[in-house]
């Protein structure tokens, strides 16, 4: 078991990648706080995991709720070793049609919420002598994605926060890394895109398929465990090779014509 008796908080773990992370971490021996905006989804994941898990309802944009979430982890399991920030939201919209309200909401959830969770869990990790933080950013956090102005900006912010914290908290033995998932078949992707769009994306993935939540979870496990003991400030693409490829690559070239 690769996370035996470690204590992990996983936000956004009521579904999708977060759920896959929570389940995998528990299988690897961790005690997991399943945190989600959707209380019943969190409860159902926690129930399925069993005695290693507790559920907590949290809106990560609300400071007192984040403070409370970390407190709950400490009460239940005694400390915090690992934080995986999976909670996030995406929205496709032309920038000229993006309201200030929506911009603020997307920034709030993806970036400010991640900051609050890092700060609160980080305080416990500093007291406890170390830890590991894994932020789920996005390939939109290292490249522009059309019709996702707020999301791209927020995810670039998550990458920036990751790198900054890696340099600031290294001395506390806290490693901070992020994953940039490519298009992964989560409920968020399935709910916000059409099959035509997904088929188009799939064609442009060098490895020829979209990602699975379990594949993102395996990368998170590596970054959360001692196997990555010297990995700090890394931006790890788990994207089937998309980011390595020039966007100018033509369909014809991809098809080998």
């Amino acid at each position: 078991m690769r996370l035996k008796d470690h204590v992990a908080i996983v936000t956004g773990s009521g579904s999708g990648m977060g759920e896959a992370v929570a389940r995998l971490f528990a299988e690897e021996g961790a005690n997991v706080l399943v945190a989600d905006l959707n209380a019943s989804a969190a409860q159902s994941v926690a129930t399925h995991i069993g005695k290693r898990a507790r559920a907590v309802e949290v809106d990560i944009t609300q400071e007192p709720q984040v403070v409370d979430m970390v407190k709950r982890a400490v009460e239940a399991f005694g400390r915090v070793d690992i934080l995986v920030n999976c909670a996030g939201m995406a929205d496709f919209r032309k920038t000229e049609d993006t309201s200030l309200e929506l911009w603020r909401k997307v920034l709030d959830v993806n970036l400010t919420g991640t900051f609050l969770c890092c700060r609160e869990a980080g305080r416990r990790m500093i007291e406890g002598g170390g830890g590991a933080i894994v932020n789920i950013a996005s390939t939109s956090g290292i490249s522009g994605t059309p019709y996702m102005a707020a999301y791209s900006a927020a995810k670039h912010g998550v990458v920036g926060l990751t790198r900054e914290l890696a340099t600031e908290w290294g001395k506390h033995h806290i490693r901070v890394n992020c994953i940039c998932p490519g298009a992964t078949e989560t409920s968020m992707l399935l709910g916000t895109t059409t099959e035509t769009y997904r088929a188009e994306r799939r064609r442009r993935v060098p490895l020829g398929k979209l990602g699975q939540p379990s594949e993102q979870a395996q990368a998170a496990l590596f970054l959360a465990s001692q196997e990555s003991s010297y990995v700090n400030g890394a931006v790890l693409c788990v994207d089937g090779g998309v980011f390595a490829m020039s966007p100018a690559t033509s369909e014809a070239a991809l098809a080998g014509e």
């Binding site: 996370l3 340099t167 290294g170 033995h173 398929k209 990555s228 010297y230 990995v231 400030g233 890394a234």
Partner: protein, 264 residues
């Protein structure tokens, strides 16, 4: 949280792994870790006696290993060595390109031939070995290649124009091979270590240069061969099935920062 992980079940079972430069330093660490994870390991190195020592060490722990000798700058020698591995262990399924060399020299006084020599070892070498193992991987529709680059492959270091150039080139080789081999299920990635605590570095650790350098690493220590080896295990295991063409720093946070000194 400095507790040792509980060794997981062997994650590289059935792998035939060629580790170039496997007789010493990082390569040695990778060869022994891969063997622990169940891989049959071929140590491809210029230094035969040292490679044989690593083989004995691995066999002593119950692992499987052979030594093959080749100069990676010579395609003919590399081809022969890979054929010899195929005969002894089977087709190569995993390649780790670790053989490399740096020689510091100011650009104004670069010795004749140094550029060619450093490029040949650090860039032509990984290409030659990749070329030799590719046919079997393509035929089997699976394989893994991991190139050990360097922090100098993403940021320049002083007085090392040929080395920084070659290592930047190796990042390019990684990405372009990843793209062209993806249709065959062959994943190609690279790792960028910063200074690793080899015996040589340990001896010099009190030097002003190294003390200053340590201050630039957020985690406050140099890497170990095992730090690099475990990241390589991850990239070669099924856990990394959807990862290809990436540049993974294993450097304690060195290259994610910009300032020379992170500590007050």
């Amino acid at each position: 949280m400095q507790t040792e992980i509980v060794a997981s079940s062997a994650r590289l079972r059935n792998a035939v792994a060629v580790v170039t430069g496997g007789a010493s330093g990082i390569g040695h660490g990778i060869a022994t870790e891969f063997a622990l994870e169940g891989a049959a390991v071929a140590i491809l190195d210029l230094n035969r006696p040292m490679a044989e020592e690593v083989v004995s060490e691995i066999k002593g722990k119950g692992g499987q290993a052979v030594a093959v000798t080749a100069d990676v700058t010579d395609q003919g020698q590399v081809d022969k060595a890979i054929q010899s591995v195929a005969g002894q262990l089977g087709d190569t399924t995993v390649l780790v390109n670790c053989a490399g060399l740096n020689q510091f020299a100011s650009v104004e006084e670069l010795p004749d031939g140094l550029w060619d020599k450093i490029l040949a070892i650090n860039l032509d070498g990984p290409w030659h070995v990749s070329k030799a193992v590719m046919p079997a991987m393509i035929r089997k529709r699976s394989g893994r290649i991991v190139n050990i680059v360097s922090a100098a492959g993403v940021r320049a270091i002083p007085k090392a124009v040929p080395y920084s150039s070659a290592k930047h080139g190796l990042v390019g080789l990684t990405r372009s091979l990843a793209l062209d081999l993806a249709p065959y299920g062959v994943n190609v990635n690279c790792i960028c270590p910063s200074t690793v605590e080899t015996p040589l570095v340990k001896q010099a650790v009190n030097s002003v240069f190294l003390r200053e350098m340590l201050k630039t690493i957020p985690l406050g220590r140099f890497g170990t061969p095992r730090d690099i080896a475990r990241a390589a295990v991850f990239l070669c295991s099924s856990d990394a099935d959807w990862i290809t063409g990436v540049v993974l720093p294993v450097d304690g946070g060195l290259t994610c920062g910009i300032r020379a000194h992170h500590f007050e």
